[in-house]
Amino acid sequence: MNGSEIFGAWIAVFLTLGIFSYLYKDNPFYKISEHVFVGVSAGYWMAMAFWTQVQPNLFGRLWPTPEGEISGFLMRAWYGIYDFFGFILPSVFPDGGIDKGHGHDPHFMYILPFALGIMMLLSVSSKLSWLARLGIAYTVGMAAGLRAYAFLNSNVLGQIKGSAVSFVDMPFFSLTGVSVFNNLIILVGTITGLLYFYFSKEHSGTFGKVTRVGIYFLMISFGASFGFAVMGRISLLIGRFTDLITYGGPTYSYASIWLILLMIVLLAVWTFKGDKKVAS
């Protein structure tokens, strides 16, 4: 086990205990852990997106490594822009173009997403922020178009197809598997659940009774969601405790034990000082 791994374990234990310490009450350890988490997540996500998408797939397509000498005025001017960028940021725009296997000719089509991306960044400027709307409009429009078909196909047609089953060769009752009884429950639950969200008619009389059945189905569904949520949280807790136990061993210089003790003492001092301040 090398020093950096042990140091990493100590950091992991500190941050885990820092977050857990919120269960006692809001305190400086929790604040440190929370801010580190948010900052590191944002930085990490941005670095990954830039180096795996923007640099290779956008700049790599706009300025690929040319095959042989660059000829023609336009191409020389185009790669002149690249050289200028390269002068400012040589790690992003290395000498001689970006070789990511996209071929050797620039894909000028990618100027459009590049421009839209820059427009979105202009939202920080009060005078030019209106340009950001173009980028956002494109993204929203593209996403809506992309999703419309997929939702219709998978969530509407696929679900209708899946629900329209034949009762032939199906047992009437089965506790866990496919059965006539279970399908009838799905049918009743779907219809009454949908009717509950029909607000053009007052929920009274027979219609009210039917929608009340829908509420029961929704409540059972929410109950199941709650149960699964608890199960998930306990699994995550087990994961953290497993790591704390591992890091509490001699391999990691008893990181968990030392840090738990240190945190308890410091929290006690902090609470005691706080109480004294309130009293005075």
């Binding site: 296997g101 939702f151 199960m231 306990i234 994961g239």
Partner: protein, 281 residues
């Protein structure tokens, strides 16, 4: 009797920090002293197992890692178990990541299973294509042409230089698809943009909280089986006969569930007793 009811009402308004402490204890103790509660696979876990069992040596499986350290305890054990099953059957494994940290989860799982346990060869038996941002746009791209999304793998090798990428151009070229998902983008997007349009058999492993959202796709047959959270992983481990992290956590999980159910029942009793008393006076 009144004293007992008084105690119930008082205990109902117990400081929640004591409850946290009890939960912590019931989770930690079984980790130190395992009970060995039995694990019975559910139908949905069995369906995932059966789908993988149908694959033959040399078949191609696309496995997507869509989770990170925050959901590792739930998803990682099932990803490891699934990889073990796939490599055991000599299926060729292609890995993509729709989450940036999914790549590191995949690297960790591959090191453990492909390299250390099965001595598989990179580029011939498995390949880690890596992470691409873009969510459903990436899946759409993979469905039409993998090389438009990935020109190089996670190690910077050109796809055309990787032996097992020969003849693999789109999602339809795969025999099996598995999404190890902790949210968006994940299972739902794979169903909508890849499995449904191409008809490739797809299974999934999700966090517990996602099970309700994904279950309709399983019921309708759009997804073949689902592994739900840590219990799903433990069930899969028992099916392949290789106990792992999922199995070791199940004692703590089961005991914690029992205690939480106990708290819920007790809290309700306390609530009803208090309400009856306030109505009385």
């Amino acid at each position: 009797m009144d004293k007992f009811l008084d105690w119930i009402v008082r205990a109902g308004s117990l400081d929640r920090r004591y409850i946290f402490l009890v939960i912590a204890l019931v989770v930690v103790l079984p980790l130190f002293f395992p009970i060995g509660l039995p694990i019975r696979p559910t139908n949905s876990s069995q369906d995932v197992y059966n789908a993988v069992e149908k694959l033959e040596a040399g078949d191609k499986a696309l496995v997507s890692f869509e989770y990170g350290p925050s959901t590792k305890p739930e998803i990682h054990p099932m990803a490891v178990a699934l990889l073990r099953h796939l490599f055991e059957k000599d299926v060729k494994v292609y890995i993509t990541c729709l989450w940036p940290d999914g790549q590191f989860m995949a690297m960790e799982a591959l090191e453990l299973v492909a390299e250390r346990q099965y001595n598989k060869v990179y580029g011939e038996d498995y390949v880690l294509l890596g992470y691409r941002p873009g969510a459903e746009a990436v899946i759409k791209g993979l469905v039409s042409n993998i090389r438009k999304v990935f020109t190089v793998d996670s190690q910077g090798n050109f796809l055309d230089d990787i032996p097992m990428m020969v003849g693999v151009n789109q999602v339809a070229d795969f025999d099996y698809l598995f999404s190890a998902s902790a949210g968006y983008p994940g299972t739902v997007e794979w169903v909508q943009y890849a499995a449904d349009p191409t008809g490739v058999t797809m299974s999934t492993g999700t966090t517990s909280i996602q099970v309700n959202e994904v279950m309709p796709y399983v019921q309708s047959g759009q997804i073949v089986g689902i592994l739900g959270g840590m219990p799903g992983a433990a069930e899969y481990e028992s099916l392949i006969g290789q106990a792992g992290i999922g199995t070791s956590g199940m004692d703590a999980q089961s005991v914690a569930h029992l205690v939480i159910v106990g708290f819920i029942i007790f809290g309700n009793i306390s609530f009803f007793v208090e309400r009856r008393r306030s109505k009385k006076y």
